[in-house]
């Protein structure tokens, strides 16, 4: 796969939209890793992938590989072509068949030094609500135990473009990058480890008001 259509798309289309219209605020960008890594991100919106792609340095864009649901991004050959070439998506089966190597393509990508973007919630769900992480992330990390996991917490994307809406409405969007985490040796503990890190990142952001609390 040639990376340049993807890089051009991200630089010329995605970045200007994310930085000017969305106006993403990034905290601790310096914590983003240089080599192969798994960026673990909470998921509320299609904007999430574009937001993450806009905070990694441009030199790393060619290596950026968001992991997305096969049933969504590959629902027809045209979609698959666009997803793979323009976004660099690695499709993942949400309902794998028995005996299928679910993370094969992800592991290959990590071994090639690529930067994986994973949404362990497995779905966008309700706007600005986080659901428990799927355990599958542990299986992937177990196969690449030396790859650092970097949690990235996003807020606001779910309000700007929630699931089921086609109209983009600008809201302030925030991204906080966390410290890299290492695999502790137990794959069952990974999801929990990441959730704790996410909670901590969320707490560094200022609270948002709602009518009942003020």
């Amino acid at each position: 796969m040639k990376p340049w259509p993807k890089v051009l798309f991200y630089v010329l289309v995605v970045r200007p939209i994310v930085l000017i219209i969305m106006g993403l605020n990034v905290r601790h960008r310096e914590r983003l890793p240089e080599g192969a890594a798994i960026l673990v991100v909470n998921h509320n919106s299609h904007l999430d992938t574009l937001a993450v792609a806009s905070i990694v340095p441009m030199r790393n864009l060619a290596r950026l590989r968001p992991v997305g649901a096969r049933d969504y991004f590959c629902r027809n050959p045209f979609c698959e072509m666009l997803s793979r070439n323009m976004l660099g998506v690695i499709p993942l089966d949400r309902r794998p068949k028995r005996g299928e190597d679910l993370f094969g393509e992800c592991v290959t990508a990590l071994n090639n030094g690529e930067l994986l973007v994973i949404f362990p919630e497995g779905t966008r769900g309700e706007p600005e609500e986080r659901v428990p992480f799927k355990a599958g992330i542990g299986r992937l990390v177990e196969r690449c135990p030396d790859t650092p996991m970097v949690p990235v917490f996003l807020r606001g994307c779910g309000k700007s473009l929630p699931r089921g809406e086609a109209l983009f409405v600008p809201f302030v969007c925030e991204a906080v990058v966390g410290e890299a985490l290492a695999f502790a040796g137990d794959r069952k503990a990974v999801a929990r480890q990441l959730e704790v890190a996410m909670d901590a990142l969320e707490e560094t952001l200022p609270t948002i008001a709602d009518w009942d609390s003020i």
């Binding site: 106006g23 605020n25 309000k159 948002i208 009518w211």
Partner: protein, 301 residues
Amino acid sequence: MTDGVKWVVGGILAILVIASITIRLLPHKADSESYIELKRRVQSWWVMVFIFVGALVIDRRLSVVVFAFISFLALKEYVSAIPTRRVDRRALFWAYLSIPVQYYWAGTGYYGMFIIFIPVYLFLLIPLRLVLAGETKGFLRAAGTLHWGLMVTVFSLSHGAFLLSLKDGPALLLYLVVLTQSNDVAQFISGKSFGKRKIVPRVSPNKTWGGFIGGVIITSCLAMALAPLLTPLTLGQSAIAGVIIAVGGFFGDLTVSAVKRDLGIKDMGATIPGHGGVMDRVDSLTYTAPLFFHLIYYLHF
């Protein structure tokens, strides 16, 4: 660009250079929190002056676009800070769309539409869109907060852009913005120096009679000094302009402070390092822009 504008721009740059040098020479611990904050604040001033003056010097229309973009950022900060419902999305979208339209009236100098578009048409359109969305719970809150936000962030600020459509518009806008921002600084400094009695401690503990009166005196003097360079105002009129900007700026600042207090937040955003959000920087301008505009429009146009 008139000679007056050149002199004032030169003066602003000189003040920034002096501020930057003073900070370097100041005895300090290089990594202390307050020093870094001060340095950030001055750096941000450089960026803001560069954008504002740059646009003003290059092209009148570019300045209108910059103002529209400031309104966009301020409105975005506002609707992100207040609680909104998911059913408000369409109405919010219309609110955003009103920005290019309002600034089109401002940029082309179409006074009739400029002055009624948001107070009348958007005032009717926003509740209409909310009604069509069909959710009555929280309707009044949504309609009220949305229109208030539009008036503050778009309608008020666009008066600054409308100045550009008047004769010697860039000079008038420069006069308004320089006086508003220097009034913020003057009130802050005189408040620190001899501010004791608080005016409204529950809204803002930093606002004192000392700071307020010092601000009015300094801003009036500056208004009289700059008026011959930038405006057609007489000496008496410029003194009035100075008082209006000082008092207006004071209440603009307080109003946004009250909103922040109400929402339980410290800043409206984090767009401008050392200053907070865009809304925190233009809070005074939301009062001074319409007040100064109508003064000069009544007296000279």
